[in-house]
Symmetry: C2
DNA sequence: CCTCTATGTGACCACCCAGTCATATCTGCA
DNA sequence: TGCAGATATGACTGGGTGGTCACATAGAGG
């Protein structure tokens, strides 16, 4: 958590610091990113940074939380979408793509987060990953029990595939992946998962 | 390329250097890996390393090539497998898994390669990636034209999915992924890709 | 005007890194 | 034995990093 001093700062200065940190942490993982470069680009002294934050990790976690707070504002709409798991997932990735296009810098921060190493970050990341995984697994299990997703498939394998493809999609939002490509990819998955009547496996 | 001096070394010394380098480059990306630690673990002087190799990158590329040369010995058998694209792909990943289990250290080097950055590595990696991608795309196109893979799907999307899942599989060989899990995952993909008669998309 | 507190500063520290080079040692040959 | 070329060495350089600290400044209240 930032120190109180940080929030006493004139907003324009605070936002300048956030902007430069977002830039640096969007272009580099935590350990590659350079605090020295951030303060240089802000035009403030190294020591000042330590009036605002405990250390590099404190600043980093604040910026990452900033990015994910904004991303949540987009993505949470997907949970309210009526329809089966395929419609919810499509909405999720669509909102995720909108976030990436409207906040490219924050999107890059969020992506680089998963590649970051060092300090206690490793464990933090593993925890976040595990928590998300368990949410998705439960969501998937419902869909399999209700018959929307082919129940003959190995649930762990289905999760594995979705996880891998989802990560690859998000990694490439705004590069290879646009709205129509997104649909094509999801279709490849869907028509592999959807329960098929009559035709045996 | 290593300097001639390196190959004049007594084999046990040469292999000790290779072993320590493999260890370091298996645990760290190129830029994180420390030459100082390698020489320390080998019990040789820093300067000696520069009698054998031009620089850190030279050593790294030698080690990576070592790893991929061994991996090729396994994987190339897959190309000779008779059968459709699914059988070839399964053979490919199966051999790949065998390599990972029998040469875990080399497997880690090969995996970390793709995450590595710095010097001219970025461009080299992009080239290798592009070359592999184009091979696989061609292989896939054949399979789609011959009707083994559902021709109604977007070829780029199919490639995208296979690429994402393939990378995730290889990343986790020996951890989450064993032989039976591999088959389950490939099945999820296959039954999404296989041409289906009668049933409309 | 003085004082007290909050904030700003940048030289400085300890650490790690890749890469260099003058020097020492070894080895094989004459 | 002596010489020459090949090989080994590790202190050293220059550059980067995160983090610290004694000091400078600013602003508010009496």
């Amino acid at each position: 958590m930032p120190k109180p001093t940080f929030f006493n700062l004139p907003p324009e200065k605070r936002e300048a610091i956030e902007a430069q940190a977002i830039r640096e942490f969007g272009e580099n993982t935590f350990e590659r990113a350079s605090l020295s470069k951030i303060v240089e680009n802000c035009g403030i002294a190294k020591g000042s940074m330590y009036q605002y934050f405990e250390d590099k990790l404190d600043l980093y976690l604040y910026i990452v939380e900033l990015a994910y707070a904004e991303k949540r504002r987009y993505v949470e709409r997907a949970y309210a979408v009526p329809g089966d798991i395929f419609q919810v997932l499509e909405a999720y990735y669509r909102e995720s793509l909108r976030f990436a296009l409207e906040h490219p810098a924050l999107h890059k921060v969020a992506n680089k987060f998963w590649e970051s190493r060092g300090q206690h970050l490793d464990k933090t990341i593993d925890q976040v990953r595990a928590s998300r995984a368990s949410d998705f697994r439960a969501f998937l299990q419902d869909a399999m029990e209700s018959g929307v997703v082919n129940g003959e498939l190995d649930p762990e394998a289905v999760f594995f595939v979705y996880h891998a493809v989802g990560k690859a999609l998000i990694d490439q939002f705004g590069e290879k992946v646009d709205s129509t490509f997104l649909c094509c990819v999801l279709d490849v998955l869907k028509y592999g998962l959807r329960a098929r009547k009559g035709e045996p496996l």
